[in-house]
């Protein structure tokens, strides 16, 4: 008998019989888990009762697992419509006495930053862990900002795990630390921890307290100037307390002995350990690894710098620790050489790897680097790329084709964050300016006003709900002359089909959700021209966009068609595929050159359609000048 049996309750969704894999397994059992699974398990072991998020890579698998677990347990989980709202809910829940996790990708914290800055003043009653998943190298992000600065900016602690197994344990400590300080704690991961897998050991699950109570205390909770002046002092006192904790925290440690020192955080710690072994310099180099990296452990740093000849700081991203360590050295009048970010050593760009770190260590301390030599690749031919592409049959492609016909090449097309961002690539070539979530509408207004050109913004359904809606509101109020095309594919496709306010949750087997109708929202904002179209009908879509662009003022076209992958998952895929009739085809190749659907291939100088990939969208058939493309039923 374990705590699992107490946790278990009737699955809320019919048809689901087996318990979630992160709830199975006895304490002390060992499992091979993805970093994000380990983090979800850690939160469950910590007794998390309330979790909120807006989906974003590389954090998405944490929320996917918690969403599933919430269907079998008392955990409250929600996909909020943006990160700011997610953190608002979390602030209330943690101040009502529930252990709360709020998670997002790094840029999501920019959206939630307004909440965080004042929440640090108000504090929390029960643990609130704010997980930010940073993305050095931008595997799937628009920037690689270093969110450790948010800890400094808000005055809250930052924890950084170095490995998958440590992440699971450390997130439990994050809740404890938050409760010790009555402050939210930032848990900062990077893609390389989120998307690595390793062996973790399960521990006992703490039963969560799931019913909260809020004790009114307006003189500490209502952030008017008089209250905030008082609370800012409390925050600084808490930060001082955190600094003391940092010096004795077991996640901050010195390892090894030697005259040379390396200070490293997060995944860099793994590369440093492996490098020291590879270089055979275990007896010459010691390591300081701050896991609680804000506030930094002053006493530990002083001890580390003492009698050390040279110090290398190995951290991806910005020189956060490096600058701090240098300031400690200055106050201590320690003159040893401290280096990190330098054109000959370590870069602020992208993510590190074992070889980069090993070379920097060898170079800085003067050791021989006998790394394996990569084979010569100078004689390789030019290899065809596999650029990311919209899926075969993706409705976005149809909308882009129609919009291009309607707006031509002189129109400006700001776009937004989602699968459809890929529309900027040839041959589609639609997307002139992409900034951040929801920005297509605001930037469209700016371009329209400043250039006087026709401006058409693309935005997805989830992104519209996230923050595009505000841009539209502004556009109507200030009477801008823009057209907005909302690419409503009925789900949050790019991050893995998470729900958003427009999703029909009953299709997924859920009750107790409402569905928001984009057209009704747009109309209610006072948009003068609104039309919903089915994008697979190219002619009608093109006509609707043409009309919208003629309209003086804000016009909106909603292109409503389920993401092909999502439709397939729901068993709603089309039962036909299309084929090229080679007797009719005269090789104009409009299909290939204008649409670039990956289902096309050329064989013996003729266009063919791969029936395994064709989804039956019929768009190519509609634009073929010879009517040479026709449907075939699948048996």
């Amino acid at each position: 008998m374990t705590v699992f049996s107490i946790l278990k309750k009737q699955p809320k969704r019919a048809g689901k019989k087996t318990m979630h894999k992160l709830l199975q397994g006895e304490p002390e059992s060992r499992h091979f888990l993805l970093g994000n699974e380990a983090i979800a398990r850690g939160a469950i072991e910590a007794g998390v009762a309330f979790a909120t998020t807006y989906p974003g890579t590389p954090s998405s698998e944490i929320s996917a697992n918690l969403f599933e677990i919430s269907q079998e347990t008392d955990l409250y989980f929600e996909y909020s419509s943006n990160e700011k709202i997610a953190l608002e809910l979390a602030s209330a829940s943690a101040n009502s006495g529930l252990r709360t996790l709020c998670l997002m990708k790094h840029v999501g914290l920019n959206v939630a930053a307004d909440v965080l800055m004042t929440l640090a003043y108000l504090g929390v009653k029960k643990g609130l862990v704010l997980l930010t998943a940073d993305d050095p190298f931008m595997f799937s992000s628009q920037n690689e900002q270093d969110n450790r600065y948010y800890g400094k900016l808000a005055g809250v602690p930052v924890l950084e795990p170095s490995s998958v197994d440590e992440a699971k344990e450390m997130i439990k400590y994050a809740f404890d630390l938050s409760e010790q300080l009555n402050e939210p704690v930032i848990f900062r991961t990077t893609t390389r921890v989120n998307h690595s897998s390793g062996i973790v050991e399960f521990k006992d699950i703490t039963l969560p307290q799931t019913k909260g109570e809020f004790v009114k205390d307006p003189m500490n909770y209502v952030s008017v100037p008089a209250v905030s002046r008082k609370r800012h002092k409390v925050l600084l006192d808490n930060l001082e307390k955190a600094a003391t904790i940092s010096d004795s925290c077991s996640y901050n440690f010195i390892k090894g002995k030697g005259n040379f020192g390396i200070i490293c955080n997060g995944v860099s710690y793994a590369y440093v350990c492996d490098s020291i072994k590879d270089l055979g310099i275990e007896d010459k180099v010691k390591i300081l690894r701050p896991g609680l990296s804000h506030p930094m452990p002053d006493a530990l740093i002083k001890e580390f710098l003492k009698d050390t000849e040279k110090v290398l700081v190995v951290e991806e991203g910005e020189p956060v620790m490096e600058e701090y360590v240098r300031s400690v050295a200055q106050t201590q009048k320690i003159t040893c050489e401290i280096k990190g970010k330098h054109k000959d050593l370590l870069s602020r760009l992208y993510e590190f790897n074992p070889s980069i770190v090993r070379s920097a260590i060898a170079k800085f301390f003067g050791f021989e680097n006998k790394s394996a030599v990569p084979v010569d690749i100078s004689d390789l031919p030019v290899l065809p790329n596999r650029p990311p592409n919209l899926c075969a049959g993706c409705a976005h492609r149809a909308v882009f084709y129609a919009a291009k016909k309607a707006g031509g090449t002189d129109t400006l097309y700001p776009s937004d964050i989602g699968c459809y961002t890929l529309g900027f690539l040839p041959p589609v070539g639609m997307g002139d300016f992409v900034l951040c979530m929801g920005a297509s509408i605001g930037t469209a207004c700016g371009f329209s006003k400043s250039t006087g050109k026709n401006t058409l913004a693309f935005i997805g359904d989830s992104t519209f709900f996230h923050s595009g809606i505000n841009g539209l509101l502004n556009a109507v109020f200030n009477n801008h002359d823009i057209t907005v095309v909302i690419l409503d594919n009925r789900t949050t496709a790019m991050t893995g089909h998470q729900p958003n306010p427009g999703v029909d949750m009953t299709e997924l087997g859920f009750e107790n959700y409402n569905q928001i109708d984009i057209e009704a929202v747009v109309k209610s904002l006072g948009v003068g021209y609104v039309q919903t179209v089915k994008p697979y009908n190219i002619r009608k879509t093109q006509e609707a966009i043409e009309e919208a662009m003629k309209f003086k003022g804000v016009s909106v076209v909603i292109a409503k068609e389920k993401c092909v992958l999502y439709a397939k998952q729901l068993g709603q895929g089309k039962k036909t595929v299309f084929q090229v009739n080679h007797d009719k085809c005269k090789n104009h190749r409009n299909c290939v050159n204008d649409l670039g659907c990956p289902a096309f291939y050329i064989e013996k100088d003729k266009v063919n359609i791969n029936p395994e990939m064709c989804t039956g969208c019929s768009v190519c058939a509609q634009i073929c000048p010879e009517n040479a493309i026709s449907p075939v039923k699948i048996k």
């Binding site: 060992r30 499992h31 091979f32 595997f139 799937s140 170095s162 490995s163 998958v164 390389r192 998307h195 690595s196 897998s197 390793g198 062996i199 710690y269 793994a270 590369y271 350990c273 492996d274 590879d278 790897n353 074992p354 070889s355 980069i356 790394s371 394996a372 030599v373 990569p374 084979v375 010569d376 690749i377 004689d379 390789l380 031919p381 030019v382 290899l383 065809p384 790329n385 596999r386 650029p387 990311p388 592409n389 899926c391 075969a392 699968c419 890929l422 496709a493 790019m494 992958l565 290939v592 670039g596 990956p598 096309f600 291939y601 050329i602």
Partner: protein, 200 residues
């Protein structure tokens, strides 16, 4: 010297590379061998390159830098060639030789290298090269989706990783979906057998 074995697996999205990696990770767990695995994939939902790195033994890192792979296991010949920078003169390459045309070459915008050229280059840049049409064996076993199992079979035969054939087999039985287990094992054996023939 080092007790660490570094394996790079490259594939095209949808070829089942991540399941193969997971099986190796689970098998290592079962065998009591330390293992770190990392997946690298970009924005593409479909058709992009998916790479995973697996480090068996006493390593903390989960990624493999250029020149540092002991084994390159390729699910597609072009992707094996693209990943050859991960190899050094002691690396062993095992690869499927059945091309999966990228869209750029499928519509004639780029040229897919000839199979002979790919094979020649991969041979020249490795200590040992094992290339065969693994897709064909997968289809013969029941479905092209079992390609990953064929390649795991070939990997097991080469005896390059610290996990034996029996344990991988057991893990496939336990960790892949029940309805595919038989096909998967058939594919695994076909890959093993093929590697045995080619190694003779």
């Amino acid at each position: 010297m080092s007790n660490i074995t570094k394996l790079i697996i490259v594939a095209v999205g949808g070829q089942g590379n991540l399941l193969a990696s997971k099986i190796l990770g689970e098998a290592a767990l079962d065998a009591g061998i330390q293992v770190q695995m990392s997946e690298i994939h970009g924005m593409a939902q479909r058709g992009g390159v998916v790479e995973s790195s697996i480090l068996f033994g006493d390593a903390k890192s989960s990624i493999i830098a250029d020149g540092e792979a002991d084994i390159l296991l390729g699910f597609e010949p072009l992707e094996s060639l693209r990943a050859v920078a991960k190899c050094n003169k002691n690396t062993e390459i095992i690869t499927n030789m059945r091309p999966l045309q990228p869209f750029t070459s499928a519509i004639g915008l780029a040229k897919y290298p000839e199979s002979e050229e790919i094979e020649k280059l991969l041979k020249a840049k490795s200590k040992n090269f094992l290339g065969f049409d693994a897709t064909k064996l997968a289809i013969e076993a029941g479905t092209s989706l079992s390609l990953n199992m064929v390649l795991l079979g070939a990997l097991a035969q080469r005896n390059l990783i610290p996990i034996g054939k029996d344990l991988i087999e057991k893990t496939i039985k336990e960790k892949t979906k029940k309805q595919f287990a038989e096909t998967n094992l058939k594919a695994f054996h076909a890959g093993f057998q093929k590697a045995l023939e080619l190694s003779k």
